[in-house]
Every structure is written in structure tokens, then in C-alpha cells.
């Protein structure tokens, strides 16, 4: 009995996901250039948000320096493509490997010496800022002047990942779909259970024989590598990369806002959250420009973060699900740390 109902709810979940992405594909076929370019960014940050979500929502490690990995990916693709004409596919792979390695080294160094929690979060931001300044002074990588892709000819070229805005929209859509499905799959795999166990109680997980140290390094490394893939594509979409724009604090905030607003540790949360927060950010930016109030988008982002944690600490998506009540949220979707810490 239990099994069949699980299967039914599984089919529903995957079916609902497929429907959402099919709808997004239709939207991509019909919308105008502005909507396409905005949604491309939303979907890319959905994907990168998934990688961040994997690390905090499932692995329990807070990063506020994901811009580091995003930037590594963007630079790997750009340097290989712009300087040597090598296809971005190789760049994406190389960027993922380098970022995964950097993430693993950071995690290894800090967890080894019991640098955890907030200290680890500060280490990630320090590493990101350090790298941003270093890239700014690195002439080979363009320094502060940045690197520019050749203007696309408009013809679609899958081998070189070049094409018009609509092409990149579908690339981003594919990445977002992979991100959502991947999170769902990982979260019900052996690793998913192990990571949630160490997220909820490190000592208990160790007592059960989980080598939490290795798994923490692993989750940070996977998260870093996937963020780098998103960064590589983001650089292609933007057509130019600068240390301040691709490795700055703003990127780290854009990466984390989707999962926080949408729902930490859930597969759909980052999509819902990015869909809500990033267009709001753009709209407020435009409104601020029109009114001559340049900080309005930042105020809106800040207010959204505070209000969501205040009133919907589980995020929008789980609340929507609960309200609708059609899909029973499985126990693993809930995040125990979000409840009040006992006195």
C-alpha cells in the first residue's frame, strides 16, 4: 500500500516537473527578447542555486563565496575560447575540474582543522574576495579590463556553444532541468541520505559509521564544480567577464537568494525562488533608475531575504505545497535546523 502511494506521488512529482519545464520551453519559443534574456539569467541562477542548495540545504555547509567557483568556471571557458579558440565544452569541463579541486582543497583544509559553521562561511567569502582581487591584477586573464567574447554571428553552433539569445535560453533551460532532476536524484540516493544525516547531526552520523569528513569535502567539491559550469555559461551569455561582475559579492548573493527564498534543501525551491527574486531585483533596478533611486534593487533584495527568513523560514515552495496540500511533502523535504534551537 505504502509503496504504491509512494510510486503514485513519484509519478506526480516527475510529471509536474516535466510539465513545468515543457511550459518554460513554450515560453522560450514565444516570448520577446527582454523576457528571454531575463529568464535565461533566472534559469542559470536556478542551476547555480541548486549547486549551492546541495551544499547547504542537503550537505549543511554554508558558503557565501560561491562567486569564486562561478568565476573560475567563467574564466576557464573564456580564456580557452578567447585566447586559443578552444570549444567552451572543454572549458566547462576544465572549469568544473579546477573549481571542484579548489572547493575540495578549501573544504579539506578547513574541516581538517575543525573550521566550521560561520568560520567556514567567512573562509569562503575571503577566498572569493582574494581571488577577485588577484584576477583583477592578472594581466593574462584581462585584469580589470576583463575578457570579451566575439559578438555572436547569430548562427547556432552547438559545438562552439554559440548562438542567439534564444539558443542560450534553451541551454539555460536544459541546465536548470538537469539541476532540478539532479537534486531530486541525489537527494534520494545513498549520498543524499548520508549528507542529510551529517547535516542534521554530525556526531550521530559518525557514530553510525559515516566518514563525515570525506563526505563534507565531497559535497563542497561537487557543489563547486557544478557552480563553475553555470558560471561558464553565464560568461558566454553575458559576452564579457570582469572580476568584479563575475566574482563579486553580488554573484554570491544572486546564487543563494533562489534557494533561500524558494526553499532550502528542496528540488523545486531554487527554481521558484529565482523566478520570484531575480525579476523583482531587475524590476526594482529599473524602477530605481526611473526614480533616480539607485539603491532600490538592493533594498528590495535585502527586504526579501529578511522577510522570507522571518515569516517563511522553510521558503516559498514548501509553503505553497502545504497550502495546496495535493502533494504530501516527504519527511526528507523538511529541514530540522530551521526550527528554533532549544534553550
Amino acid at each position: 500500500m505504502q509503496r504504491t502511494s509512494d510510486q503514485a506521488s513519484d509519478t506526480k512529482r516527475w510529471g509536474a516537473g516535466a510539465l513545468v519545464f515543457a511550459a518554460l520551453a513554450v515560453v522560450g519559443g514565444m516570448s520577446n527578447a527582454y523576457v528571454i534574456s531575463l529568464l535565461t539569467i533566472v534559469l542559470l541562477f536556478t542551476f547555480m542555486g541548486q549547486s549551492w542548495n546541495l551544499m547547504l540545504g542537503i550537505g549543511g555547509q554554508l558558503s557565501i563565496g560561491h562567486a569564486l567557483f562561478v568565476g573560475i568556471g567563467a574564466y576557464a571557458v573564456a580564456i580557452l575560447n578567447i585566447k586559443y579558440g578552444i570549444t567552451p565544452w572543454i572549458g566547462l569541463l576544465l572549469g568544473a575540474v579546477i573549481a571542484g579541486f579548489v572547493g575540495a582543497v578549501l573544504a579539506w583544509l578547513s574541516f581538517r582543522f575543525e573550521v566550521r559553521g560561520i568560520y567556514f562561511a567567512l573562509l569562503t567569502i575571503a577566498a572569493a574576495e582574494f581571488a577577485r582581487i588577484m584576477f583583477g591584477g592578472w594581466d593574462y586573464a584581462g585584469g580589470m579590463q576583463g575578457l570579451f567574447y566575439q559578438a555572436p554571428s547569430g548562427a547556432m553552433d552547438l559545438g562552439m556553444l554559440r548562438g542567439d539569445a534564444r539558443f542560450y535560453y534553451f541551454v539555460a533551460l536544459a541546465l536548470a532541468a538537469i539541476g532540478v532532476a539532479g537534486t531530486e536524484l541525489i537527494s534520494r540516493s545513498y549520498w543524499g541520505y548520508v549528507w542529510r544525516a551529517m547535516r542534521d547531526d554530525d556526531e550521530a552520523a559518525r557514530a553510525l559509521g559515516v566518514r563525515t569528513f570525506r563526505h563534507k569535502v565531497l559535497v563542497v567539491s561537487i557543489s563547486a564544480a557544478t557552480a563553475a559550469v553555470g558560471g561558464g555559461v553565464l560568461g558566454l551569455v553575458q559576452g564579457a567577464i570582469f572580476p568584479d561582475s563575475i566574482m563579486g559579492m553580488a554573484i554570491s548573493v544572486d546564487v543563494l537568494i533562489g534557494p533561500v527564498v524558494g526553499g532550502l534543501g528542496t528540488a523545486f525551491g531554487p527554481l521558484v525562488g529565482s523566478m520570484a527574486a531575480i525579476p523583482l531585483h531587475h524590476a526594482m533596478g529599473a524602477l530605481g533608475d526611473a526614480l533616480g533611486l539607485p539603491g532600490l534593487n538592493s533594498v528590495a533584495y535585502g527586504a526579501v531575504l529578511i522577510l522570507v527568513v522571518w515569516f517563511l523560514p522553510d521558503g516559498i515552495w514548501p509553503s505553497m505545497v502545504r497550502l495546496y496540500g495535493a502533494v504530501q511533502l516527504p519527511a526528507r523535504g523538511r529541514i530540522p535546523q530551521l526550527r528554533k534551537v532549544e534553550e
Binding site: L56, L62, I64, L109, S110, F113, E114, V115, R116, G117, I118, Y119, A121, L122, L123, I125, A126, A127, E129, F130, I133, M134, G136, G137, M249, V253, L256, V260, G288, L293, P294, G295, L296, N297, S298, V299, A300, Y301, G302, A303, V304, L305, I306, V309, W310, P313, Q337, L338, K340, V341, E343
Partner: protein, 289 residues
């Protein structure tokens, strides 16, 4: 050559005292409430704007500007704690952190909306006066800022050590539950603590306003600098904040002399990474977070 080095190090020590004051604000808040105030740099920038208005527009002496900043920012911090921060004190760390990132974005947006992105120089005649002591030639503004910061640090240390409120604050920091048991008014202690921490940042901002142009984008740099300072000294430690401030001030000054300017900006982060990896709790850090 030697006098150049002496001058650079003395300048670093002076600015280091001000960094120490900023870090002290952060560390008091963390030590008592166990929350990590990521919006601390915005408080420093509020202080710089207060310095800008009072010194530049009303032409008051810098010490009076610092006093005004202290009062205004104390009230601001007290209200911020009572209205917002209070609700997140018992939440898990990473959620608090996200709230404070939200506060930081919110306030830097408010700063941008109120003052625009253009830097405003507070530079007055004060900024260019120097004092010569033996081989040292020092900015008068820096000496004033450092002296005021040093005095405030000492006064705050004495207040926390000997006053009744200081005892309850330290009690709350050591053992929150124990404090509740013996009847401490924990919510009030927390609000006052947050007010004091914010006031430290605001005063430091007012003190350095003759040296830095008032600009909203400075906030993130100050936040990170305060974190680096505090972690070098050890999060939650009073003496550590001061030592960290001096270390960062001198290290920055030496780096500016020996390396390229971009190395100077990168140095605090490099230092933070090294310290976190080899001495994660800083020189005098609290045991656990």
C-alpha cells in the same frame, strides 16, 4: 629609510586602533548574543556620513562628531535589535547570517538611495595638518582618531569590567540560561549590547571621516575588514579585537609600502585565510561557535 618604515608603522598603529574599535563592536555583539553581524560595515559607513554632515556642513570638531555618532548609532542599534534582530537570535547560525546579509543589502541600498553613489570628501584643513615627533611625521586627523578610539576602548573595557551592567552583560555572554535564572533582563541586555556594538562602528566611522571619502560602497569592505580583524584576534575576545586591529593596520601599511596596491587590498583576505587554516580560533578566540 628607517624613518620611512617607522612612519609607515606608526601610521598603521594609529589606523589600527580605529580598526580595533570597529572590530570591538562586532566582537561584543558576537560575544554576548552569538550572532554574526554581517551589516557591521554599513554601521561604519553611517558613521562616516554622520562625520561628513557634522564636520563638513556644521563645522563641529571631530570629537563632537564622534559623540553625536555614538548617540545616534546607539539608538539606531538598540531599535534595530528590538525590532528585527531579536526575532532571529534563537535561529540557527546560517539563517541569522542570511538575515544579516539581507540587512546589509537593505542598508547599503538605503545609503545609495539617500546619498547617491558619488564619493563625498570630508577632507577639511584638519586632513592635511601634520605633527612631527622626532623622526615621525603624523597626520593630525589620524592622531585624533586613534587617541579617541584608544580612549573609548579603554573606557568601554573598564565599563564592562566594573559596572553593574557590564557584569550582567558578561554574565549573559558566559551563560545565557544562568543569566535568566538569576533574573537578568536578557532582552534588555541584548538590545543594549547591540546598541553599544553599533555605536562602536558609528564612532569609528565618524573618526575616520576626514581620511575616507563618504561612499556607500565602502560598507562591504569595512564589514570584511572587521571580520578579518576579529578573526585574527579571535571572535568574541576583547583584547583580541584590539590586537587584531593593530595587526591589520600595520600589515596593511607595510603591504602598501612593499607590494603593489592590489596586494594591499588582498592582504587582509590572505591573512584571514592563513589564520583560519592554521589558527582557526584566532589568538584569543572563544572555544566554540
Amino acid at each position: 629609510m628607517l624613518s620611512l618604515w617607522l612612519n609607515v608603522i606608526a601610521g598603521g598603529v594609529l589606523i589600527g586602533l580605529v580598526y580595533g574599535l570597529v572590530a570591538l563592536g562586532l566582537t561584543i555583539i558576537f560575544g554576548v548574543m552569538r550572532v554574526v553581524n554581517f551589516a557591521h560595515g554599513e554601521m561604519v559607513v553611517f558613521g562616516i556620513y554622520i562625520g561628513y554632515w557634522t564636520v563638513r556642513i556644521w563645522d563641529v570638531p571631530i570629537a563632537l562628531a564622534a559623540a553625536i555618532a555614538a548617540v545616534v548609532m546607539f539608538v539606531f542599534g538598540y531599535l534595530l535589535e528590538t525590532l528585527v534582530v531579536k526575532r532571529f537570535v534563537n535561529r540557527p547560525h546560517h539563517y541569522q547570517f542570511i538575515v544579516f546579509i539581507g540587512l546589509s543589502l537593505f542598508f547599503s541600498g538605503v545609503l545609495l538611495m539617500s546619498f547617491g553613489p558619488d564619493p563625498r570628501p570630508t577632507a577639511s584643513q584638519l586632513s592635511f595638518q601634520t605633527v612631527t615627533v622626532g623622526p615621525l611625521t603624523l597626520d593630525w586627523a589620524r592622531i585624533q582618531a586613534a587617541a579617541t578610539a584608544g580612549l573609548l576602548i579603554a573606557a568601554l573595557g573598564a565599563y564592562l569590567k566594573y559596572s553593574a551592567f557590564g557584569r550582567s552583560l558578561r554574565g549573559a555572554a558566559n551563560n545565557r540560561l544562568g543569566g535568566l535564572v538569576v533574573g537578568l533582563n536578557i532582552p534588555r541586555v541584548y538590545a543594549v549590547t547591540f546598541g553599544i556594538g553599533t555605536a562602536c562602528a558609528g564612532v569609528a566611522g565618524a573618526l575616520i571621516s576626514p581620511l575616507f571619502d563618504a561612499q556607500p560602497y565602502l560598507a562591504v569592505d569595512f564589514t570584511l575588514l572587521a571580520f578579518v580583524t576579529v578573526i585574527v584576534g579571535g571572535l568574541g575576545s576583547f583584547g583580541g579585537a584590539l590586537l587584531g586591529g593593530l595587526t591589520i593596520g600595520v600589515a596593511e601599511a607595510i603591504a602598501a609600502l612593499t607590494f603593489t596596491p592590489s596586494m594591499k587590498t588582498a592582504l587582509p583576505y590572505a591573512l584571514l585565510i592563513i589564520i583560519l587554516i592554521f589558527r582557526p580560533r584566532g589568538f584569543f578566540g572563544a572555544k566554540d561557535i
